[in-house]
């Protein structure tokens, strides 16, 4: 399976600021996703990061709040903008190389907004 490096591992941020999370994969992958896990909740898909085009966002998530970049097939960033305490969550990137390879997750970023 793909090896994913995600950073930062954790951060504590002031409300109103922004944080960019990076996800680097050791091989080219067709699909990359960003998930959020709020405290005590399961994972919820934020968006699909598309290489060379705008990300596809799920209902309830917008580009202004969660801008995503994917400049190539091995790298993506998620920015959490104008943060509030409600944004405190674990953020995870995930990749899939093909239908038979399953889904692999990055190590996650634990964000606390104070």
């Amino acid at each position: 399976s793909a090896v994913i490096s995600q950073k930062p591992s954790r951060d504590i941020c002031q409300r109103g600021t922004s944080l960019t999370i990076q996800c680097q994969v050791d091989s080219q992958v067709t699909m990359m996703f960003w998930y959020r896990q709020q405290p005590g909740q399961s994972l919820t898909l934020i968006a699909t990061a598309n290489q060379g085009s705008e990300a596809t966002y799920e209902s309830g998530f917008v580009i202004d709040k969660f801008p995503i970049s994917r400049p190539n097939l091995t790298f993506s960033t998620l920015t959490v903008s104008n943060m509030s305490p409600e944004d405190s969550s674990i953020y995870l990137c995930s990749v899939v190389r093909g239908a038979d390879y399953g889904y692999t997750f990055g190590s996650g970023t634990r964000l606390t907004v104070v």
């Binding site: 399976s1 699909m31 996703f33 909740q41 399961s42 994972l43 919820t44 898909l45 699909t48 596809t56 799920e58 674990i90 995870l92 995930s94 899939v96 239908a99 399953g102 889904y103 692999t104 997750f105 990055g106 190590s107 996650g108 970023t109 634990r110």
Partner: protein, 112 residues
């Protein structure tokens, strides 16, 4: 609306016990069902079950997919304290291409 439901939500057992975790789903365009173990942040892949592979086993863990009942179980035999974690069930399918739909998870606590 696509959904994945896990039960129980939490479970406390003693070392050596056998546990069965349940997952049911209502997901359009079903492609596969996956089980993950989450101890800290990142879910760790356990199994992927598809129409062509409905039963998987790895050591003390095994899983079965019942496509007729739209459900799956994860069995853990001879549990150890290191099995304590949240076990997540996810289904690949639905309207969006490629993403996973997660259940809320089962929190397993194994006491010595």
């Amino acid at each position: 609306e696509d959904k994945v439901v896990q039960s129980p939500l939490s479970l406390v057992v003693h070392e050596g016990d056998t546990v069965t975790l349940n997952c049911s789903y209502e997901v359009t365009n079903f492609r596969s069902l996956l089980w993950y173990k989450q101890e800290k942040k990142a879910p760790t892949f356990l199994f992927m079950l598809t129409s062509s592979g409905i039963e998987k086993k790895s050591g003390r863990l095994s899983s079965i997919l019942d496509k007729k009942e739209l459900s799956s179980i994860l069995n853990i035999t001879a549990t150890q304290t290191g099995d304590s974690a949240i076990y997540l069930c996810a289904v690949a399918g639905g309207g969006s291409q490629g993403n996973l739909i997660f259940g809320k998870g089962t929190k397993l606590s194994v006491k010595p």
